[in-house]
């Protein structure tokens, strides 16, 4: 055996099975932080032992066994609550059966996702907690993506994990009537991870964009865990459609390219097809939802690669549906633009002007859309003002340049 093989195996397990291992241990002990500590110890032990003893036949079972022993030690040392004893007993028995069984240990990641996105957890902590526990991303990297200090992020995560343990948030998949609300928290947390990564694509090589692919990985896990939830398919389709356009969003010189002018040859056909497949699976359930509608809108944009044009009336219809179930500022602005693109520019502008000022005053897409519509109506002075405001509200330098260029062109 070479020296590198055990290390490669450990790395591969850490990358591919971390979330499953944490979920398995934590769902039995009710203690996420304790599970993380125990597993980290187990990985350290593996780094020490495997190069000498060789990689065990069932490496994951070996890690679970060590983690179990660590948890029992920790429980004895700290003399923590007596309630953990039965759980530890259960873990010990299950670890034993895992070690002898041919099957893999059960996948409890779905339960872990529901715990991370539990309404009793501070909402700002849900997505970071999910990224850390399910994917094993370290707090510093998560902090960078969410624009907070590593210390603040660590604190937020610690607080959330303490609450899970001390308030006894259950590791279970909720039943109706809670199901819909709870699923939407899970979906929102994943989507938030995705958009946080997507919006910062321009920082080439930064940690941010990895977050987008991480979110897609969780989206895939979710679809595997709940194949009968159309919104899970919808969310994955939405993320894949956006991700497919990665290479087309900026020119090689780093200039921003708006969606309807992107070179469709640069889009990933494979991802578009995967997205369409999930949208199709979702539609079979005949239960419409926010993410399916958003994915359907992106699907029409994607179809430009085939047809060469954009079906704006269809997009307007989909936004109409979206506004009914999820009247966020984003969908209201999207609907106004779709109306304008299908020829009803004045209606589109009227729709924009009906929005309450406090919702759009600092919302960049509103001002960009407003500039576009005013330009179409030849209201040049007002259009310039709107584009300037939009430029001032973005933190993406390439988009800012683009908006100033639009402004100059009016």
């Amino acid at each position: 055996m070479t020296e590198t093989e055990p290390h490669a195996t450990i790395e591969s397990i850490a990358r591919n099975s971390y979330g499953r291992l944490i979920a398995y241990v934590a769902s039995r002990s009710g203690d996420v932080a304790g599970a993380e500590d125990a597993l980290n110890d187990a990985f350290l032990a593996a780094l020490e032992r495997w190069p000498i003893d060789g990689v065990p036949q069932k490496p994951e079972a070996w890690l679970l066994h060590v983690a179990r022993n660590r948890m029992i030690d920790a429980a004895r040392h700290k003399q923590v609550r007596e309630k953990s004893e039965p759980f530890l007993q259960q873990i010990a028995e299950e670890a034993q059966s895992v070690a002898t069984a041919h099957d893999n240990f059960p996948d409890e990641r779905l339960k872990l996702l529901f715990v991370c996105a539990h309404p009793a957890i501070e909402s700002a902590a849900r997505t970071p907690l999910m990224l850390q526990t399910v994917l094993g991303i370290d707090a510093a990297r998560i902090a960078a993506a969410f624009l907070v200090s590593p210390a603040a992020m660590s604190q937020r995560l610690v607080r959330a994990k303490t609450k899970i343990r001390d308030a006894a948030i259950p590791f279970c998949v909720p039943d109706p009537p809670e199901w819909n609300e709870r699923v939407s928290f899970v979906l929102d947390a994943i989507y938030s991870a995705y958009t946080t990564g997507w919006e910062s694509l321009i920082d080439v090589g930064s940690t941010h964009h990895v977050l987008a692919s991480d979110a897609i990985a969780i989206g895939r896990t979710l679809v595997q865990s709940m194949p009968d939830e159309p919104e899970a398919h919808g969310l994955l389709a939405l993320m894949l459609h956006c991700e497919a356009r990665n290479a087309a969003r900026y020119t090689t010189d780093g200039e921003f390219v708006p969606l309807d002018q992107q070179d469709t040859l640069l889009w990933s056909q494979a991802m578009i097809e995967e997205a369409e497949g999930h949208l199709c699976s979702a539609s079979a359930f005949n239960r419409m939802g926010r993410y399916q509608l958003e994915a359907a809108i992106q699907s029409i944009h994607a179809n430009r690669a085939v047809s060469g044009w954009i079906d704006w009336p269809e997009i307007a219809l989909l936004y109409e549906g979206l506004v009914k179930i999820s009247p966020g500022i984003g969908s209201l602005v999207g609907r106004a633009v779709a109306l304008a693109q299908m020829g009803n520019v004045a209606d589109g502008l009227a729709a924009l002007e009906k929005l309450p000022a406090n919702r759009f005053v600092s919302y960049q897409p509103y001002w960009a859309a407003r500039g576009h519509l005013l330009e179409l109506l030849n209201k040049n002075d007002e259009a310039k003002e709107a584009f300037t405001r939009a430029a001032a509200l973005t933190d993406d330098a390439a988009l800012r340049d683009y908006l100033f260029k639009r402004c100059a062109r009016v």
Partner: protein
């Protein structure tokens, strides 16, 4: 796992607790908790105006008229229940007759105040 359900009410709703509907709802809730075998204890509280606050400082007893803090919403009652986990506690909190107008704070008990009764 034991949780305290702490009902924080405004004066306006607190004043209505003697109405027949409120009494019936409170009684039914208490009975449902007992029937489910989750009720450990609890009661409604008299108004904050009846409160007296005590503290010991430097070995000296300080007694003050009034509640610990004057707030618009105040603690109007509490129940201690024993249920498997937070979700079950939240379910009971949602059923609390005051939940429609008051806020029910759900707090796990720190078990060490009950020697011999692990959580």
């Amino acid at each position: 796992m034991k949780y305290a359900l702490l009902a924080h009410e405004s004066q306006e709703y607190f004043d209505r607790r003697k109405e027949a509907g409120a009494i019936a709802a409170g009684k039914a809730y208490g009975e449902a908790l007992q029937a489910a075998g989750v009720f450990i204890g609890g009661a409604g509280l008299e108004s904050p105006a009846t409160a007296t606050t005590v503290s010991m400082r430097d070995g000296k007893r300080h007694v003050q008229d009034g509640p610990y803090a004057e707030t618009k919403e105040f603690l109007a009652g509490f129940a201690v229940i024993d249920v498997p986990n937070l979700d079950a506690a939240l379910e009971w909190a949602a059923r609390h007759p005051a939940a429609g107008h008051a806020s029910i704070e759900v707090r796990p008990l720190a078990g060490f105040y009950f020697p011999g009764q692990p959580r």
